[in-house]
């Protein structure tokens, strides 16, 4: 069964919404600008609802099942978040309204800034970045501007561990830095000798994900940060894996100078099929005046009778504006709700259960799959999705076979430094029963790989479609559906 495209379902003359007729006189369009044709589909409301309902049913989702997609932190999205973000008093406010008419919004944003500061141990937070990758861009541009203002324009080199997300090197390059990749040592930490060799007067900074994408807390993190600082560089923390650190340790206390938060990873805003994200950035005191504009601030202090009056502030050396308006406010509301419901004890509980779940699952499957690094992990771990004695089976085959068992596969072929990597992150909201069932499936697949490898190589079998011809997609490049004449 193939779901037709919205254009294939279209019937000339059909309508989905009726608007009132115009109640004003008619005015002519300017000559030469009138559009001749606009071929939008024509459907009834029910046609449209059924079509998108059918499409939704072709998706795997957190609400539908276990989603151990490493590094993406596919935790449960509490439903109250969705209700709160849609409160008419919040959702129906225009971004250019006078600030005295939107003090409720500004209170939420200010409080979220304060909470993220407290959680991260950093001094100042700006909520505007649209996603984690944009938060990284903020960080890299701050590093650049900081060195320029401190008369060190020759600091043009950014160090990035080889286990890092691809966004780190891409961001650095986009910001005009030269990227130098740092190897990992045998325990999965940053290789200290390699780091020392790069700590010279051209060093601008280091981008460090900790815990890293191997799910390991860098055992030398304090020394790594100290080395970079002594060489005059700044340390950027990729907050992608902050979920494991909530209430456990504050990156600012460890010496990180800048960090972004992925609200969709750590603070339960929905992943939305690939966005919208939200990537607030926190910085140390020395960098507070470099943050993007605008930052929410208190303009007039309150007292017992009157609440403070909130407004916007442009930092003195700001790197500038990252997007229109103030960030993804709808996501700020959700993250605010989530943090408010958890409090300090609840946040620590998140990190503890996320780490417990990952270690438990790792222990359950390590007999059958080779661990990339056999040590206590944080919120995720990486195994090799291949065995020496069955060379024809790859991480991809295991991933596809997992779908037949009703699971979304782990992240595969990342991090790049692990052969046939399968990166597994269960998150804190999964129960022991779910983890046990998943471990059972992983073990069954390991057995199948030996007894009936074809079953893996031809998987998945029970999904709406089978494996796709990706070469054809890139060669034929059909990026738009058939549109009737």
């Amino acid at each position: 069964m193939i779901e037709p495209t919205i254009y294939e379902l279209s019937q000339p003359g059909r309508k989905g919404v009726a608007f009132p007729e115009s109640d004003v006189p008619a005015y002519d369009l300017p000559a030469g600008f009138a559009r001749e044709a606009l071929k939008l589909p024509e459907l009834s409301e029910q046609d449209v609802v059924r079509h998108f309902t059918h499409l939704s049913q072709l998706n795997y989702s957190i609400d539908g099942g276990f989603y151990p997609l490493g590094s993406c932190t596919m935790k449960y999205n509490p439903k109250i978040n969705e209700e709160m973000a849609r409160l008419p008093g919040l959702a129906n406010t225009h971004p250019l309204q006078p600030i005295e008419t939107v003090q409720g919004n500004l209170y939420i944003m200010y409080q979220l800034q304060e909470w993220l500061q407290e959680i991260s141990g950093l001094n100042r937070v700006c909520l505007s970045p649209a996603a984690g990758a944009q938060g990284e861009l903020v960080g890299a541009l701050i590093i650049k501007k900081y060195h320029e203002i401190n008369n060190a324009p020759l600091r043009t080199k950014i160090l990035i561990p080889d286990s890092a997300h691809g966004t780190n090197p891409a961001t650095s390059a986009m910001s005009g830095f030269k990227v130098v990749s740092l190897p990992s040592d045998a325990r999965g930490n940053v290789d200290l000798e390699a780091l020392k060799a790069e700590c010279d007067e051209t060093l601008a900074g280091l981008m460090l994900t900790n815990p890293n994408t191997l799910g390991l807390f860098d055992e030398n993190v304090l020394e790594v940060i100290q080395l970079v600082h002594e060489a005059g560089g700044l340390v950027y923390g990729d907050g992608a894996n902050l979920n494991a650190l909530l209430g456990v340790v504050r990156p600012g206390d460890l010496g990180f100078d800048i960090m972004h938060f992925n609200l969709h990873k750590t603070f339960s805003t929905p992943h939305g099929g690939g966005g919208p994200g939200s990537g607030p950035v926190g910085v140390s005191e020395a960098l507070a005046e470099f943050l993007p504009s605008p930052v929410v601030t208190i303009i007039e202090k309150g007292d017992e009778e009157t609440p403070p009056f909130f407004g916007f502030y442009t930092p003195q050396h700001t790197i500038g504006r990252m997007k229109a308006f103030y960030g993804h406010f709808g996501m700020h509301i959700r993250a605010y709700t989530y943090i408010a419901m958890h409090g300090p004890a609840g946040l620590l509980d998140i990190a503890q259960k996320a780490v417990l779940n990952a270690n438990y699952l790792m222990a359950q499957i390590k007999e059958d799959y080779t661990l990339a690094y056999d040590r206590t992990c944080m919120h995720e771990f990486v195994v090799e999705g291949a065995w020496e004695d069955i060379p024809d089976i790859h991480a991809l085959d295991i991933s596809k076979r997992l779908m037949d068992y009703g699971y979304h596969p782990p992240t595969n072929y990342f991090p790049l430094i692990v052969h046939e990597a399968l990166m597994i992150e269960p998150t804190e909201t999964e129960s022991k029963q779910t983890l046990d069932a998943f471990a059972k499936a992983m073990k069954a697949i390991a057995k199948e790989a030996r007894e009936d490898p074809d079953l893996l190589q031809t998987a998945p079998h029970n999904t709406p479609i089978r494996r796709c011809d990706e070469v054809k997609a890139a060669r034929d490049l059909v990026l738009c559906c058939w549109i009737p004449e």
Binding site: I6, K15, G16, S22, D23, A34, L38, L40, E45, V48, F52, T53, L55, N59, S61, E82, N92, T93, H94, L96, T101, G121, A130, G132, A133, Q134, L137, P169, A170, M174, F217, V221, V249, P270, G272, G273, G274, G275, P276, G320, M322, A324, G330, P344, A345, G346, L347, L356, N359, Y360, S431, K432, T463, C468, D469, A473, L477, L479, C481, I483
Partner: protein, 451 residues
């Protein structure tokens, strides 16, 4: 609440892991900093947080309580109920990036349909799966042009009539590129709509010329000559467009532009105090390999069934790392879905009707307001779509304060972005505004004048 572990399960799990306590799992965290006490309020129940946020929300003035004439980059359009019903489906909003096509056809096909609708709307060849918003899409257009010329052309020429926040964002993004100059929008350039100054700046060192259509002041300007001149210098041209306007107006593709970007918020996305919105990014075919952001392509599965996958991924950061054009990772998936559902519901006739209603009502409003003593259209000779600039007899902030007392959110005070535009208000009118609303507004303006 959201963590399901019972004390007994925790015991069993710890045993399997081989530790006594959960705390032992964190031994690699430097002891001096381990388990800090966070100074945060104690956790609230769902009932309590719900009450708190409702209380906060009730203190705001909204575009439902007030008759709003605010636009300037965010528009108060009617959103059919079915749009949000679809967005609330957990199968959509709790899914992630469709890296595994076998279990993500819903998201993939929806994005493919989004791409199709955007190419049809703009008359361009290719749309990606979206960018963050109109501002970052504009910045990424410059990024694309810069890389298209391999960094050899150093000038980005941008009109002063492009949304000021988009121009600021563009400058932020350009800081990372070597010796790139953004010019053409200095105060001296003015806002008359005269294109000769932009023309004079465009030369063999220009990578991209950026203009807005309709422009930030709502004006419909004929850029044909500018486009021809830019192309004759080998430069690319980008339009920043308003999608609603394209329900009536000739699409960017017919003007032979190279890139057309815009903000998709008017397509079924709530105002939500500025975000999340939707960056639309469309191009001519020949730039597809320089295009930043995700793309969905049609293909077949191994049984020959039609299927959709993320394609040309070799352009992107997770493969090319420091060699990619942009670091963009997420798109605005759920917002692109909103726009797709919105356009499907409104369809051919509904979308055109909304554009017409905006156009007619804005023109009625402009006619009536300009009859009030002291109020004049700032650009009376230039055609406009659903926004226009009015010269006011007093500072806009004073007029707006008065309007607010009468239940109106007045137009945008242009002096905030344009020092030369004192006493100039940018008024936006959408299909939600009735003739009565406009007549009432005019009555308040007249009354204020007599006060």
């Amino acid at each position: 609440m959201f963590t399901p572990h019972t004390p007994q399960e925790i015991e069993e799990m710890l045993k399997v892991v081989g530790v006594e306590t959960i705390e032992e799992l964190f031994e690699k965290v430097p002891e001096d900093f381990r388990f800090p006490e966070l100074d945060l309020p104690e956790g609230l129940s769902e009932m309590a947080i719900s009450a708190e946020l409702k209380e906060l929300a009730s203190g705001n003035a909204t575009t439902e309580d007030f008759i709003s004439f605010l636009g300037a980059g965010a528009y108060n359009h009617y959103i059919p109920a079915a749009v949000d019903m679809i967005l609330r489906r957990g199968e959509f909003y709790t899914a992630y990036t469709p890296y595994q096509p076998e279990v993500s056809q819903g998201t993939l096909q929806a994005i493919f349909e989004f791409q199709s609708l955007m190419t049809e709307l703009t008359g361009m060849d290719v749309s990606n799966a979206s960018h963050y918003d109109g501002a970052t899409a504009t910045a990424e257009a410059a990024n694309l042009a810069y890389h298209f010329f391999r960094g050899k052309r150093k000038k980005i020429v941008v009109s002063r009539s492009v949304n000021p926040q988009y121009r600021e964002t563009l400058r932020t993004y350009m800081q990372g590129l070597e010796n790139v100059q953004v010019l053409g929008d200095e105060p001296a350039a003015g806002v008359s709509g005269d294109l000769n100054k932009l023309l004079a700046l465009t030369d063999k060192d220009t990578a991209l010329v950026i203009v807005q259509y309709p422009d930030f002041f709502g004006r419909i300007i004929d850029y044909t000559k500018l486009i021809e001149a830019a192309h004759s210098q080998g430069a690319l041209v980008a339009f920043v467009f308003n999608p609603t306007a394209l329900g009536l107006l000739k699409p960017p593709g017919e003007f032979d532009v190279d890139i057309a970007v815009g903000d998709g918020q008017p397509l079924g996305i709530p105002l939500s105090y500025g975000g999340p919105y939707l960056g639309i990014f469309t191009i001519k075919d020949k730039y597809v390999r320089k295009l930043a952001g995700r793309l969905v392509g049609e293909t077949e599965d191994e049984t020959g069934k039609r299927a959709y996958v993320l394609t040309l991924t070799a352009r992107e950061q997770h493969i090319r790392r420091e060699k990619s054009t942009s670091n963009i990772c997420t798109n605005q998936g759920l917002m692109a879905l909103a726009a797709t559902v919105y356009l499907s519901l409104l369809g051919k006739s509904g979308f055109k009707q909304v554009a017409e209603l905006c156009y007619q009502k804005a023109h009625y409003a402009a006619e009536q307001i300009s009859k009030v003593k002291g109020y004049d259209l700032a650009f009376p000779e230039t055609p406009f779509f659903h926004e226009f600039v009015v010269s006011t007899p007093e500072p806009v902030s004073m007029i707006n304060a008065h309007l607010q007392e009468h239940g109106f959110l007045g137009g945008y005070d242009l002096s905030l972005d344009y020092p030369e535009m004192k006493n100039k208000m940018l008024i936006a009118v959408t299909e939600k505004i009735t003739k009565q609303d406009i007549d009432d507004l005019v009555a308040v303006l007249e009354e204020a004048h007599h006060d």
